[in-house]
């Protein structure tokens, strides 16, 4: 069972982006707590402790709001435009025995056989939605790609999930495929394909209308 990270939360009295910016400046991260049909609560958490906890792979948090301690799961994380700093997080109240739906990242293991034959493993989906108990959330779903040849693909239905974990994503979801890399085109080849000037939408119509008008006026004469 994953041990929850204990965080002390402060309730945010004021909402809005300028207030959230002030909170971030003070070394805290704004967050929202919801779930279990209770009223949503705006809180803030210590940025350093949270970042450290996330770095160690914690997804379930024990959050202390006032004197009340609740178990919560990180439902969503928002990063800044550079993907460096966390700017907001969504927390959902959970029970230990409750079945929840979560997204678990997919991790590839090994080198595909196809890569030695000029292929490249392309990842089409880097996470799978699964249903499991809060205590059974896997850190990642490991897929062994050693036996993947050129032209092979792995779908969600092919993945072996740990016991107690059910697949929620569509079984036909394409996770990865190994394809031959086509030789990149040279600049000359690309230039030959490209038009000298793009076609203007509507310009052809106008010309056609003009010719129609001319022909009708000639008929009138």
């Amino acid at each position: 069972m994953e041990k929850g990270l204990l965080l002390k939360a402060e309730i945010r009295e004021q909402s809005g982006s300028s207030n959230a910016a002030k909170i971030r400046k003070g070394g805290r991260i704004p967050a929202i707590v919801y779930g279990h049909k209770e009223e949503p609560v705006a809180i803030s958490l210590d940025a350093h402790t949270l970042a450290e906890g996330l770095h160690h792979g914690h997804r379930v948090l024990d959050v202390q709001i006032g004197k009340k301690q609740e178990k919560m799961i990180i439902k969503d994380l928002q990063y800044d435009h550079l993907g460096k700093n966390i700017i907001h997080l969504d927390l959902m109240r959970v029970d230990v025995a409750e079945m929840i739906k979560v997204e678990v990242p997919v991790e590839l293991k090994g080198t595909a056989k196809g890569t030695h034959e000029g292929g490249v493993v392309e990842v089409h989906a880097d996470a799978l939605e699964v249903e499991c108990k809060v205590t059974d959330i896997p850190k990642s779903i490991v897929i062994n790609v050693k036996e993947i040849n050129v032209g092979d693909s792995i779908h969600a239905s092919d993945v072996e999930l740990p016991s107690g974990v059910k697949l929620v994503s569509a079984p036909s979801t394409l996770l990865l495929a190994c394809n031959i890399v086509t030789e990149a085109k040279t600049t000359e080849e690309l230039e030959a394909e490209m038009p000298t000037a793009p076609e203007v939408i509507g310009e052809v119509k106008e010309e056609a209308e003009e010719t129609e008008e001319k022909s009708s006026s000639e008929e009138d004469k």
């Binding site: 997804r59 990180i74 969503d76 994380l77 990063y79 800044d80 435009h81 550079l82 993907g83 997204e103 990242p105 890569t115 000029g118 490249v120 493993v121 392309e122 990842v123 880097d126 996470a127 890399v181 030789e183 990149a184 040279t186 600049t187 690309l190 230039e191 490209m194 038009p195 000298t196 000037a197 793009p198 076609e199 203007v200 939408i201 509507g202």
Partner: protein, 139 residues
């Protein structure tokens, strides 16, 4: 001619303003590693093509290069030794509008050190500061 759209609604466009940061296309979505813009700028079709050639040449058909930006904006210019006035000039080149955070290039199917070297060559062709990033899962 380098990259440009096949069909456009209008031949010429106004310059526009570039405020704020990239709110879309700011994470690695196709490959494993990417080159992220740290500044905002217009990147013209020639520069994008130079970056693409630099990466593909370095990778020698190993791995795949993805372009995440496309020069869709026409920039017009007046011919040399022309007096001012007499209307807007003809389209001279095409640019992509890049805001801070935009992932411009991606590389997949190669080791990290190779991708880093390839993208560093691409970064040298760019008119802005860039950084090397990896694909991360949001949680």
């Amino acid at each position: 001619m380098a990259m440009m759209p096949k069909r456009v609604k209008y031949r010429k466009s106004q310059r526009g303003k570039m405020k704020g940061n990239a709110s879309r296309g700011n994470f690695v979505a196709f490959g494993d590693y990417g080159l992220q813009a740290l500044e905002g700028s217009w990147i013209d079709a020639k520069q994008i093509e130079a970056g693409r050639v630099a990466a593909t040449h370095f990778l020698h058909r190993e791995g795949k290069v993805y372009l995440r930006i496309f020069p869709y904006k026409p920039v017009s210019a007046k011919p040399l030794e022309t007096r001012m006035g007499k209307g807007k000039g003809e389209p001279a080149f095409w640019v992509a509008r890049v805001k801070p955070g935009q992932v411009c290039f991606e590389v997949g199917g190669v080791a990290e050190n190779i991708a880093k070297q390839a993208l560093s060559r691409v970064a040298n062709k760019m008119p802005i500061k860039c950084r090397f990033i990896k694909r991360i899962h949001s949680l």
